[in-house]
Structure formats: structure tokens, C-alpha cells
Symmetry: C2
Subunit: 454 residues, 2 copies
């Protein structure tokens, strides 16, 4: 016997019930994207490594899945190169392509390649899997979906406002209670300048970012360990400890940043977003969180993160403003802002809270029992008519024992079973059993169609 | 400036308009699958190479995209192995995973891995991309979608009947005129036996399969070149030349195969399928095609192929019965039957015939012109209310020149533009321009919602 097959670690099969649930999430996000005027694109799973490498830091480069070239690539290598056994260096000779690591870099590449066809602002969305050779662990997979919406080629803060509304709309539809956290990279940069440590912005941001995990004392200790002086840390404390509602927090930070151009710009941006959103009713709390930092790689303005209120899990959506995403591909000065819904974490949250509406699960509406060839052919005609009415129907394919056929209907949660024996064939009727109540009634095929459409 | 980015050859980006069209095709197929009681699964893009290798023949193994292992795999290799430069052999040391080549082998792997959870017959569908390192050419890509529906764990010919109806339903919905061609592998095996060349079934099938391309004389020449004797070829001719309707052709072949058990079984299977389908109205022609062969790898019963009538292109859907798909993974005796819709060829046909209904293209229903901050905030409130009614609406994000804003609406085929200036703000109205007719009317926000929902 062949070895029992398996799948690569960190990857998953999705069963029919899991697919129904995932599609419910994807469809909800997709419909919301359309409602807000975003348009879908898709990019290939494989990108040239020259597109991907160097975009995610050194660590990211290592986490790219690289695809072996076809053909006799060995012949191009010297004995010395081969015997060096330098995997990282030789990988670049063996591989020209890799699997996409996120949807952002392929999007930037798309914009640059298609710049002539695009009309800006370009509001695009993309729902596709990405791959990372990360160590698999609970909730972290090597293949997972991202759902990104970006507006590129426009600097108006209305875009930030729209994206916050979009986040609110999606989680409202999914019935997940969330808090949307907002901050601004210019505020963080301003803080670093004001406390006299402009060069340490990365260290400061990384430390601040951990406040949820290590607490205020932990952050202070980390800042000091990075060589940030007592006096500078002292100046940071009011920001880290800022309490009150959004306006009160904004006043504290505005006060600290007074006279710092970058910081004041950041405060002004936050104020516009908060003030504008006061005109629109949101389901979710929108919290100014001065400790929100998010990675530093490309964000330059507003940054956003979404936390589920009823499940302990990392951020389930994030995003922000970037001023030069396409610069790395030679197209300078194109500003954009985007968000990414973490579909797999949202799926975990939905599963834990069991938030799927009953009608989100796809089932056949009626199964016809198979009593033999004559009855089967008779049933097929009725089934064909039902399908024309948009009713999903199936015939059990073989005339197996009743128990087996009913077991199939049961295990597939098919709500109605139709039984056509000789009597029903002669009468032109169908005996229909309601699987939930056990009730059975004999009706015509037309009545059955009407019943199932109701 | 950075080098102009590109994508790997044989792969494609899909623009918003292309995505709308592709989604129309995928949604039509998906809805049909549901109507017929099929359930969706998904499998990972990456499979273990041990799952994939040896399943597609030697040529197929070469066309697999292999993924480089992470880590220092070089250290496990001797100097001798490295210097052998044997790419094929070393690939197995460098790579443990590959991208899926089709959806059939991953499905077989899925069935074996999940056999305990499955209730048979298992009617699954799967719509996912596959990857092949084929030489790219017109209509042949390295990344393309397959849409497969299979019924596994049931031998009834009702399944074949249902799949033919499903094909007919899908192409009816897509408005593509097709001919469905039917044959049976047992008939082909019977023919080889009857003409006294049972061992040459592969050569015979390969030759017959080319009849469309090289004509009857070409097939005869090829058969002779494979060492099939004059007398045997003579016996084949009536089959290759069979004319008439399905019943007449079936009679010819039944006559030839009389007394051959395998062949008679095949004739009987075809007759059941044709007779049963006489009870159901099909849009498409169903043609018994005794020259239809399809690859030999795993089909054992009915074989099917679909040709578009109005575009010259290869088969756009195919499938058949297999008796032992899962045997290679140690699960014997599970019969199934399936079909695969070639989404990318269907897309080419739809494009050539321009068969997309207008409503299949996703557009925003109304764009609000942006005259400045005050008007924008006022518009956002109305837009928010429209979206709650399910109407897709967007605000142009910045107060750019009218020409630019109208240009955006035009290029995105947005049918209505809403204009709110100071006058409208004071009156609580919206000026709405119909972009097709140029007509403009001033109405209330509620009237606008009503108009757009109609």
C-alpha cells in the first residue's frame, strides 16, 4: 500500500462546511468593497524574485517561498560556487521566481506596470492567498488569505475617513464587535524629534508597540536599554499614560508636539479624521491610540488597527497611509492609503463566537430518493424543472437501501427529502418529508417548487 | 531609477474589467454546481512532491513547479552529488514541495486523507488555479484556473447523466452554443480486442484522437506505422467512418463489438446515458463520437468533451469515469466520475463572442462630486445612507477640477453623478446627472435612493 498522503505543514484543506463559512466572510468583505467603489484586480501567485526581494527586510527575504528554475541551471555554476554550499547566494542562481508574500508589493508592481491604463485615484481591492515560510503555529499558516483595499494616487484625508467607514461596515455586517485604533506616523516622528531622539524613532516605535504585552514599565526599561536618556523618557511618559477620550488625548499630544512641524501636521490629520467621522454614525468604537505604532517599513501618515472585543487575538485588520509605495519600482510621489483584512484571523473569531447566519451554509434544498431506474428517470424530470426555478436539487444516484439514502440527506443537512414510488408516479405527486419535523405531505411537483421557493 | 518591473512569462494580471468578466464565468459555474448539489472544497497551492510526482507521466513531472526547501539543504549533499550537476536528481534533494498541477490528484489525496469524515457519494467541486511549467503560447498559460466537479464513491450511470445535464446547464447560462461529445473507454478497449490488437490500445487511441487534425487517411497511415496490420485497420474503418444519428452510430459499434464483453458493456453504458437523457430537454447537442479518445491515464468508462460551435478553439470542458483514482494513495476500489471546465478557454470564447450581459460588469452606481470640505462632509452622510440601502456610492476624494472628477466617473462607467453645491446643501437636495443621456434633475436624497434602487 502507498504511504498515507499528507499536506505540507502550515497548509490546510478546507471542507465543504469550512468553505461555506469562509465564503460568507469573503463575500461580505467583497460586497462591502463594491459598495464603497473599490474594483477588483488579481495578480499571479508567482512574481519575479527581483520584484519581491528586499521589500520585506532581511527576515522577509528568508521567508519567501522560492521556485526552482526549469532546465539545467547547474551548468551555469562553477565548481567553486557549488562547493561553497552558500544556500542564500545559490538560491538566486537556482530561482528566479517566488510566491507572493503579501498583496501590497504586487499591487505596487501592478500600478507601475499598468500606469498608462489607470485613472487615478485608483481604488483597488484584491482577495488572494499569500505564502510565507514562517514557522507554523496556532493561528499562523504558511498559506493564508489577505483582503486588501487601497486608494492610490490621492492625498485627501477623505480616503482615510472612507476606509474607517469601510472597516466599520464590514465588521458590522459580520456582527463582530471591534475597536478601531487610530494613530499617525507623523505624530510618532514628531515625538522622537521633540524628546531629542530623532534617530531613535525605530527603537522608540518598536518599544511603544509592545505596551500591550510588556506594560508601561517594560516599555520604559526597553527605551533605556536602547540608550534613550532619562530626560527623554520622562518627556514620553505623558503620551504613554494619556487617558481620557479621543479629544483629551489629542490635546495632550498636541501640547507635547507644539512647535514641531511634523508632529503638528500629524495632529491636524488625526483631528480632521475624528471631526469628519463625528458626522457619520459608526457601529464600532474609534479610539485614538498614541501607542499604536505598526511596522515602520512604509507608513508615513495615518495608521490603523482593529481589535476584536470578544476574542483574545492579535489585530484582525490593519493599514495606513504610505507616500511612496511605488518609488521602489521607479514611480515616485504616488501617495496611497490602504487596509488589509486578515481573513484567517477573522475566520477564527467568527468560529469562536459562532457568528455565521444559518443561511450562510450552502445546502441542497431537496434530495430525491432513488427507488430504481423508472422512478429515477421520472424524478430527474422534476429535478430538472426545479433547477430551472433556481432550486438546488439532487437525486441520490443509486437505488441503495433507504437508510443509506436518508443518511446522506441527514449528513448533508438537506432540509427536504422527496419520495417518488409507483403510487406517486401514477398520481403525478411527490411525497415530501420535512427532515426537521419529520412531517410528510403529498403534493404536486408544482406545489413542491412553490414550497421550496418560499 | 529602478528597472521596469515585469511578471513571469505565462502569467497574467487581471484588470477590474477582466475580473468582472471572469467572476461572471466563475459565479455562473459555481451557482450551477450548487444547483446540482455539489459542495466546495479547497486544497493548498503547495502539495508534497511525493503526492504529485509520477501522477502525470514523465513529461508531467518535468512541468511541475518545485519549491526550494528552506534551510541549509546543501550541507546534506556530498561534493560528488553536487558536482554531478544532475538537475533532475538534485531537485529531489532541494525541493519537497511543488505547486499543484491539476485539481484531480489533490482531490484524490483529499479523499484518502479525509475518508473518515466523508459520506459517500461525495459530490465535490473545486475552483482554483493550477500551475504548469509549459512553454507559454497563445491560450496556454503557466497559471490558469480549473473548475472541477466530481462524484466519487458511486458507480451509477445516473452520475454521468447528471454531469451532462450540468454541462448543458452551465453553457446554457453562459449563452455559449456547444456540442457535448460522448464516448466510452470500454468501447475503445473492446475495439482493440476485436481487431486483434489488445496491446496496442494506446497507439490506437492516440491515432484516433487525431482524426480532427489529420483526417481519416492520416489516422490510417499512423495506425499502419505503429505496426497495426491491414486487416485490423480494415475492421476499424466502419467505426471511424460511422455516420448518422447517435442511435445509428451506436448500432454500428454494437455490431462490431458483438461477443466482446468489455465492448458490449461500453455500448450498454452509452445506451443507458443516451436513453435516459431523452427524457430531459437539453439546450446542447449530445453527440456520440466514436473517435473521441481523451488521454488514457485514468479513464475507464464514459468520456466526455465539449466543443464550442462558434469559435475555433480546443475542447472547453472534459471529463469521464475513473475506477481507481485513489488507488495510488492506498485506497482501492473507489469509482468516480468528473468533469473539468476550462475557465480560461471559456473566458477566451466569451470574449470573442462578447457574451457578457451588461449587468455582469461591476460599477459604482453613483459618484458624488467634491466641491470642498463642507460639501464633502454633507455628501458623506448621504452616501452612508445610500450604502445602507445596498447602493454602491463613492465621493470623489479631493475637490479637484470638475473635468478631472467627471473624467473619473466616465472612465469607470459610473451611470449617475450627484452634485451638491451650496444651493443643494441649503435646499436639502441633490442634483443628479444621468451620464448616458446628459439629463440632470434636482431631487431629494430619499428620491435618489429610490431612483438608484429601481
Amino acid at each position: 500500500m502507498a504511504a498515507k498522503p499528507s499536506i505540507p505543514k502550515g497548509t490546510r484543506d478546507f471542507s465543504p462546511i469550512e468553505m461555506s463559512r469562509r465564503n460568507y466572510i469573503f463575500n461580505t468583505i467583497r460586497e462591502s468593497f463594491h459598495l464603497f467603489g473599490f474594483q477588483q484586480i488579481e495578480t499571479p501567485a508567482m512574481e519575479n524574485l527581483s520584484t519581491l526581494m528586499g521589500k520585506y527586510g532581511e527576515e522577509g527575504d528568508k521567508l519567501l517561498f522560492k521556485i526552482q528554475n526549469s532546465g539545467d541551471y547547474f551548468n551555469k555554476l562553477t565548481d567553486e560556487e557549488l562547493l561553497s554550499r552558500n544556500a542564500a547566494k545559490l538560491a538566486s542562481k537556482f530561482c528566479e521566481k517566488g510566491l507572493r508574500y503579501d498583496l501590497t508589493v504586487p499591487f505596487a508592481r501592478y500600478v507601475v506596470m499598468h500606469r498608462e491604463e489607470l485613472v487615478f485615484p485608483f481604488k483597488r481591492y484584491q482577495i488572494q492567498p499569500v505564502w510565507r515560510a514562517d514557522r507554523p503555529q496556532k493561528g499562523r499558516y504558511r498559506e493564508f488569505y489577505q483582503c486588501d483595499a487601497d486608494i492610490i494616487g490621492n492625498t485627501s484625508l477623505i480616503n482615510e475617513v472612507e476606509l474607517i467607514q469601510l472597516i466599520d461596515h464590514v465588521f458590522g455586517k459580520l456582527n463582530i464587535r471591534v475597536a478601531i485604533k487610530l494613530n499617525n506616523r507623523k505624530v510618532l516622528a514628531g515625538i522622537a524629534e521633540v524628546i531629542g531622539e530623532p534617530d531613535k524613532i525605530i527603537d522608540i516605535t518598536v518599544a511603544i508597540d509592545k505596551i500591550d504585552k510588556i506594560g508601561l514599565d517594560g516599555v520604559v526599561a526597553e527605551l533605556k536599554s536602547k540608550g534613550i536618556g532619562e530626560a527623554s523618557v520622562e518627556k514620553l511618559l505623558p503620551i504613554l499614560e494619556a487617558q481620557g477620550d479621543n479629544n483629551q488625548k489629542l490635546d495632550i499630544i498636541a501640547n507635547t508636539l507644539k512647535g514641531n512641524a511634523t508632529g503638528e501636521k500629524g495632529v491636524e490629520e488625526i483631528r480632521f479624521i475624528l471631526d469628519t467621522l463625528k458626522n457619520i454614525e459608526l457601529n464600532s468604537a474609534l479610539d485614538l491610540d498614541l501607542t499604536l505604532a505598526r511596522g515602520l517599513n512604509y507608513y508615513t501618515g495615518a495608521i490603523l488597527e482593529v481589535k476584536a472585543l470578544d476574542v483574545a487575538i492579535g489585530s484582525i485588520t490593519g493599514g495606513g497611509r504610505y507616500d511612496n509605495l511605488t518609488g521602489v519600482f521607479g514611480m515616485e510621489g504616488v501617495s496611497g492609503v490602504g487596509i488589509s483584512f486578515g481573513a484567517d484571523r477573522i475566520y477564527d473569531v467568527m468560529n469562536q463566537l459562532d457568528l455565521y447566519p444559518k443561511e450562510s451554509i450552502h445546502n441542497t434544498q431537496v434530495m430525491f430518493v432513488n427507488f430504481g431506474e423508472k422512478e429515477a428517470i421520472h424524478s430527474l424530470k422534476i429535478i430538472s424543472a426545479l433547477r430551472k426555478e433556481g432550486i438546488s436539487a439532487e437525486l441520490f444516484p443509486s437505488s441503495d437501501k433507504m437508510k443509506k439514502q436518508m443518511g446522506y440527506a441527514n449528513s448533508h443537512n438537506i432540509p427536504f427529502v422527496a419520495i417518488i414510488g409507483e403510487q406517486e408516479m401514477n398520481d403525478g405527486t411527490v411525497a415530501v418529508k420535512d427532515m426537521a419535523t419529520g412531517e410528510q405531505q403529498t403534493i404536486t411537483a408544482e406545489e413542491l417548487a412553490k414550497k421550496l421557493k418560499a
